[in-house]
């Protein structure tokens, strides 16, 4: 009964300070579509990168067609028969569509590249995807959706044994998704094994045969598609935490507290639709919703990273216009971004410098904090947040994820913000650090700050928030308070059952 073409056994990958994958098993049969599910940081991408040789595994084995393999890099994986469409389009924007499909393996004629053949075959291939486009134009000329289709076309044309699709549908519209599914079904019928990663649950149920759920680097389980209901699936992804956590007081604001922030009809075209929100002083508002629901975009809009193009915003009753993060900073707002590495840490600077950065930015560079003041601030927050480091001069890049997150938190706490927006502050860090960060948020609320808390872990949202805003499809679809905030209810809204 073992018709697995791929088996991954007891895969372990250790990143600095966090175990990205812990004894994960995964198998793929020929001629099946196997969905890989989990929130960001669950380990999906890491598992894929391990399979394609981008990340090296610390323990475990990969068996392809009965042979143990050790992919060195994506090129090597491709020659082994593993073809991948990565999450970000990884083609060359300057080359033509046709060439992107064939570069490196162009058909030749008289020792010359046969452009006619390339263009003809590309047209043929893409028309199989329902794309009737001019394949001689540069890739950058076309929308992300088309680029995505082109990169799928390249992966498919290689005729691999295994096709990995990492979030291929995030930029496709319904019609395009259907086309992709048709192609996937054809490939399946030909006996190819397909690993499909997506955060659209509808699509999982539509196309997959089996699904594997990961959470925090652990395997939750592998199920046939009919064995799990949608709510059960969401529960497994973001529901009750496995680890025992201590009790936390929810940060609910007293009804007579001042309104700290009032947003009315804000919006960014294509990212956030008509968003209104009121937050009181000392209140913690949780943003629940799946990846891609508009949580992060809303946070960036409020902070001016991607300024709102309409609506109005009031802070403590005053009208404000926030067009840049600098404006937000001057209005005592703070924002810990989701992608810590890309948008948070300044890796080569010391902990001290990272901590004082925002405060210093508000003061302007001509009014520097003295070295003693900096030292004092850094030491205070290192102690307060329990940052594990010998001293404040260690580079932030050398810390573990949890400690980096604490430093970013310290950076904003040092500005004594009225409004603190935290986007996934607890992702990818260990349980202990998680609990500490949750405690800190609540402490901030007690001291009178208002906190917006975004998380994929529903449990921690419910545990901390006085109000829960539920987002779906770039819209705020519900606002629940007090006793309404139950896991069941929120899950139903997210799953779209309501």
């Amino acid at each position: 009964m073992n018709n697995n073409i791929l088996e991954m056994k007891q895969i372990e990958i250790q990143f600095p300070g966090v175990k990205a994958l812990d004894k994960v098993d995964f198998s793929l049969k020929a001629g099946e579509v196997h969905s890989l599910l989990g929130e960001n940081g669950a380990g999906k991408s890491t598992l894929i990168k391990c399979l394609t040789g981008v990340n090296k595994m610390d323990a475990g084995a990969i068996i392809l067609d009965g042979q143990e393999i050790r992919p060195q890099d994506p090129g090597h994986a491709m020659t082994l028969g593993i073809s991948t469409v990565f999450q970000e389009v990884n083609l060359c924007p300057n080359l033509s569509v046709a060439e992107n499909i064939f570069v490196g393996r162009q058909p030749m004629k008289y020792h010359q590249i046969n452009w006619r053949e390339i263009n003809r075959r590309a047209e043929e291939l893409l028309s199989g995807f329902g794309l009737k486009i001019d394949v001689t134009r540069p890739l950058s000329y076309y929308s992300t959706a088309i680029q995505q289709m082109v990169s799928i076309a390249r992966a498919v044309d290689v005729k691999a044994k295994i096709l990995i699709l990492d979030e291929p549908t995030s930029s496709l519209d319904t019609g395009e998704v259907q086309l992709l599914f048709r192609v996937m079904r054809e490939l399946k019928a030909e006996g190819m094994g397909i690993i499909f990663i997506t955060h659209f649950l509808d699509q999982v149920y539509e196309i997959s045969d089996r699904m594997t759920i990961l959470r925090n680097g652990h395997l939750v389980g592998t199920y046939g598609i009919s064995e799990l209901s949608r709510v059960e699936l969401v529960t497994m992804m973001i529901g009750k935490d496995f680890s025992q956590m201590f009790e936390l007081e929810r940060a609910e604001a007293s009804p007579d507290a001042n309104i700290a922030l009032e947003a009315e009809h804000l919006g960014v075209p294509g990212k956030v639709e008509d968003f209104s929100l009121k937050i009181r002083e000392g209140e913690l508002v949780g943003f629940a919703g799946l990846l891609g629901s508009g949580r992060t975009e809303t946070a960036e809009m409020l902070f001016g990273a991607v300024p709102s193009s309409r609506g109005s915003m009031k802070l403590e009753g005053h009208d404000v216009k926030i067009n840049t993060p600098g404006d937000a900073l001057n209005n005592r707002m703070a924002f810990c971004p989701e992608d810590r590495k890309r948008d948070g840490i300044i890796s080569d600077l010391s902990i001290r410098e990272n901590i004082i950065l925002a405060l210093q930015a508000r003061r302007g560079f001509m009014k520097p904090l003295t070295r003693a003041e900096q030292q004092e601030l850094a030491d205070r927050y290192i102690k307060l947040l329990g940052i594990a480091t010998p001293d404040a001069e260690k580079k932030i890049g050398e810390l573990s994820g949890g400690n980096q997150q604490k430093v970013i938190l310290a950076r904003w706490m040092a500005t004594q913000p009225a409004i603190l927006i935290l986007d996934e502050p607890t992702r990818g860090i260990d349980i202990g650090a998680k609990a500490e960060i949750q405690k800190l948020m609540l402490q901030m609320c007690e001291e009178g700050s208002s906190v917006i808390f975004i998380s994929s872990e529903l449990d921690e949202i419910i545990r901390c928030s006085g109000t829960v805003v539920v987002m779906r499809d770039r819209k705020k679809v519900a606002e629940l308070a007090g006793s309404e905030c139950t896991q069941q209810k929120i899950l139903e809204i997210i799953a779209g059952a309501a």
């Binding site: 890796s347 930015a361 520097p368």
Partner: protein
């Protein structure tokens, strides 16, 4: 340990001087010349002659730390000299008769070249920070047409002047030392203060390492870039004044020729990475002095004076290869194995 990257340059410099000390100890002799009231000697000469590059490299360090380069500094040196000499020899243009007096106030002779160069630096900064252009290509524009501007200003003529106060800048002495050294010390001290005693240096490093994160921390990255280019323009102007005072003339074709290359080299040898990030002004000073030391040594040993360039290239190549990431990783791995 903290400054391990500048170690390469320091060691190379020390090694060179040590070799020199062994072979020809008289290289280090310094004598006092009562007639000019100045100290003379090879060491003084190295410091003196490296001042133009050191001054420019102070600004270049900031730009490289931001992840850019400025190719226009050499052309700005020519522009600065042209403006100064035009002001000093206003009469030539007006009446076509020789003369050593100035029509302009000497104050303007000093200030206007700096203003013009700062404005050109701002132009670079504008193209980079607001126009979103790559620094290397944005500054290529002024590099190409800067010398043309210098020639237009002076009508393509090369003026000479004998105006004594102007001569002081490049050839005078103060406290027994050549004035360029004094100016360099002042500039280095100011830049050290500006980058390390204000938060400007930290902001430059933050933007150079991670522009997105810096922006989200509320830093106005465009403003930082703007200032860095303006400062570099200003310092090129200072360097141009020293250069033209040394020759008491303007030379639109050769003034500051290849200065951009030497300044960039000084910065990189000094341990600042061309991809941006942490920078070291001290390293840059050492780098600049190292470049000049090589030249002076080759001249001093005379025998192979034609080899200056090749010798320079070899030493630079060694320093840069030693500093390169793979080599450093390899060395630190070996060190870790040993212990």
């Amino acid at each position: 340990m903290k400054n391990s990257k500048i170690l390469g340059a320091v060691m190379a410099e020390v090694l060179l001087l040590l070799v020199c000390l062994v072979i020809r100890p008289d290289f280090f002799s310094i004598s006092y010349q009562p007639t000019t009231g100045m100290l003379y000697g090879n060491i003084i000469d190295i410091l003196n002659r490296s001042s133009e590059i050191t001054i420019i490299a102070m600004g270049m360090t900031l730009i490289i730390a931001l992840g850019g380069t400025d190719l226009s500094v050499g052309a700005l040196v020519a522009v600065s000299g042209a403006v100064a000499l035009k002001l000093l020899r206003w009469d030539v243009l007006e009446y076509n008769t020789p003369g050593d007096y100035t029509v302009c106030n000497f104050f303007w002779v000093l200030v206007l070249p700096l203003v013009v160069c700062t404005l050109m630096g701002l132009f670079n900064g504008f193209l980079v920070a607001k126009g979103g252009m790559q620094p290397i290509i944005a500054t290529l524009i002024l590099m190409v047409c800067g010398r043309g501007v210098a020639q237009i200003l002076t009508d393509g003529k090369q003026f000479t002047t004998g105006y004594a106060p102007f001569k002081v800048i490049g050839q005078g002495s103060f406290l027994w030392l050549p004035v360029p050294i004094i100016i360099t010390v002042i500039v280095v001290a100011f830049m050290a203060w500006f980058t390390r005693r204000t938060a400007f240096g930290t902001f430059v490093e933050a933007v150079g390492i991670n522009r997105s994160a810096s922006r989200l921390s509320g830093i106005n990255a465009a403003m930082i870039i703007f200032i860095a280019f303006a400062v570099t323009g200003l310092l090129s102007g200072v360097s141009g004044l020293i250069y033209s005072s040394r020759i008491m003339s303007n030379d639109s074709n050769n003034a500051g020729l290849n200065y951009e290359m030497d300044a960039i080299l000084a910065v990189v040898i000094g341990g600042t990475s061309m991809t941006g990030g942490k920078f070291s002004l001290a390293g840059t000073v050492v780098g600049s002095i190292l470049i000049r030391t090589i030249v002076t040594l080759v001249y001093y040993f005379g025998i192979v004076s034609e080899a200056t360039m090749a010798f320079k290239a070899l030493i630079i190549a060694v320093v840069i290869v030693l500093q390169s990431e793979p080599v450093r990783n390899y060395l630190s791995k070996r060190r870790a194995k040993k212990s």
